[in-house]
């Protein structure tokens, strides 16, 4: 049995494997239904990027094994019905009961302290395009917003998460915007740059190079998981 690590599966779901690696993962999935379920769940996680629901109710079951356990499906859907109704009720009452506090960089680099202030606007930008002109325009937009919110005394928190082809924006040797990134990170403590470790490792393995990330950026395990987490925490999501 092939040993597929989480990193392989993440890479598979992100569509970043070579054809040979894909075949290897596909073969493993066919033989191992637990693995198949895991891939399916990762895919679900990815699909949730499209949803701004607090409780994405439509994405529930990964149908892998064919069995005649109708009662189980029925019970699960009734449970989901209850969860969904509750979710609807919560949103309707604007209670937003979910914990909006977020775990931030313990060293506090480039980040303001977390606050429970629900007035705070939180936006996560998901940068996946290799087009650095678009990234430059994003910096214009973000800088304008940061300045405007600061001038109005309104709290704002922004994260720019780069993964896949978007990682070039945060790479020491490839980024066109190192100076601006440094300047903005120093100027605005409520702005955080985030690089995806999966992408970094994949590039290092595939190309045999050392990938250097600009020092202002935080590195997290998976960019995709991170933006999903942020959306669950109630952040606005914008893909660039």
């Amino acid at each position: 049995m092939t040993n597929n690590s989480d990193i392989d599966l993440n890479a598979y779901v992100d569509g970043e494997l070579t054809p040979q690696e894909r075949v290897r993962v596909l073969e493993a999935i066919q033989q191992d239904s637990a693995l198949a379920r895991e891939v399916c769940e990762l895919n679900n996680l990815k699909s949730q990027l499209q949803l701004a629901y607090a409780n994405p109710p439509g994405i529930v079951a990964c149908k892998i094994a064919r069995g005649s356990r109708h009662w189980l499906t029925l019970a699960a859907s009734l449970l989901m019905l209850a969860v969904g109704l509750l979710g609807g009720w919560l949103v309707g009452n604007e209670t937003q009961a979910q914990d909006r506090l977020v775990v931030l960089d313990p060293e506090g680099r480039g980040q303001a302290p977390a606050s429970a202030d629900s007035e705070e606007t939180r936006i996560v930008f998901h940068l996946t395009t290799p087009d650095q002109t678009a990234a430059g325009e994003l910096l214009d937009d973000v800088e304008q917003m940061l300045a405007a919110y600061e001038a109005d005394g309104k709290p704002l928190r922004v994260e720019i998460v780069s993964n896949g082809e978007g990682l070039a924006f945060l790479r020491e040797r490839l980024s066109h915007y190192k100076e601006r990134i440094r300047h903005l990170a120093q100027r605005y403590r409520n702005l955080t740059f985030v690089a995806c470790k999966n992408t970094i490792q994949r590039l290092e393995v595939k190309q045999g190079i050392e990938v250097e990330i600009v020092p202002e950026a935080e590195i997290i395990d998976s960019g995709v998981s991170h933006v999903v987490k942020r959306q669950k925490e109630g952040w606005s999501y914008i893909r660039v």
């Binding site: 499209q50 629901y53 109710p57 439509g58 499906t73 936006i123 214009d140 660039v240």
Partner: protein
């Protein structure tokens, strides 16, 4: 065996209820959706507008509150080809007869287009002479800020 088929399908039908419940709680009776367009490829823009139309066909215009936010290169959707001569910052101008027709058809069905004012200022676009059919109330201060604001109001974000 229609009975066993029903038991098999009923759970999935039930799953739709929570979706509807969340949707109605957020939007009253209309599902709120914001589409985000910021690239200049005419084929991709056409695809995005077709997606919006398919969405309307599936749900019915009366059940939807759809916004289309254009910023950056996305403005090329409404950029008239003759404006390319003096607007060097745009790679393309896609407002041909076909694109105009699609935009008008969607507007007629209640879709609201929102144009990024920051992009207009940054790239020196004259709304009246360079763009097709943009009214003053369709211009927002910042497209990005608008995307965040709409999501806070419960709009579901889709980037086609």
């Amino acid at each position: 065996m229609p009975m066993s088929r029903l038991t098999r399908q009923l759970p999935w039908l039930l799953l739709l209820l929570p979706v509807l419940s969340v949707a109605t709680a957020i939007a009253g009776d209309r599902l709120r959706v914001v589409y985000h367009i910021n690239d200049s490829d005419p084929a991709h823009q056409a695809y995005a507008l077709r997606t919006v139309q398919n969405h309307i066909d599936a749900e019915g215009a009366d059940h939807l509150d759809i916004r289309v936010v254009l910023h950056g290169n996305g403005l090329s959707m409404l950029l008239l080809p003759e404006a390319l001569g003096h607007l060097k910052n745009f790679p393309r101008a896609n407002a041909d007869g076909q694109m105009m027709a699609w935009v008008d058809t969607l507007k007629d069905q209640g879709v609201r287009f929102e144009i990024c004012g920051a992009t207009l200022r940054r790239r020196g676009v004259d709304v009246d002479s360079d763009l097709y059919g943009v009214e003053p109330d369709e211009i927002v201060d910042s497209g990005v800020a608008e995307l965040a604001r709409l999501q806070q109001q419960g709009y579901i974000y889709i980037k086609p």
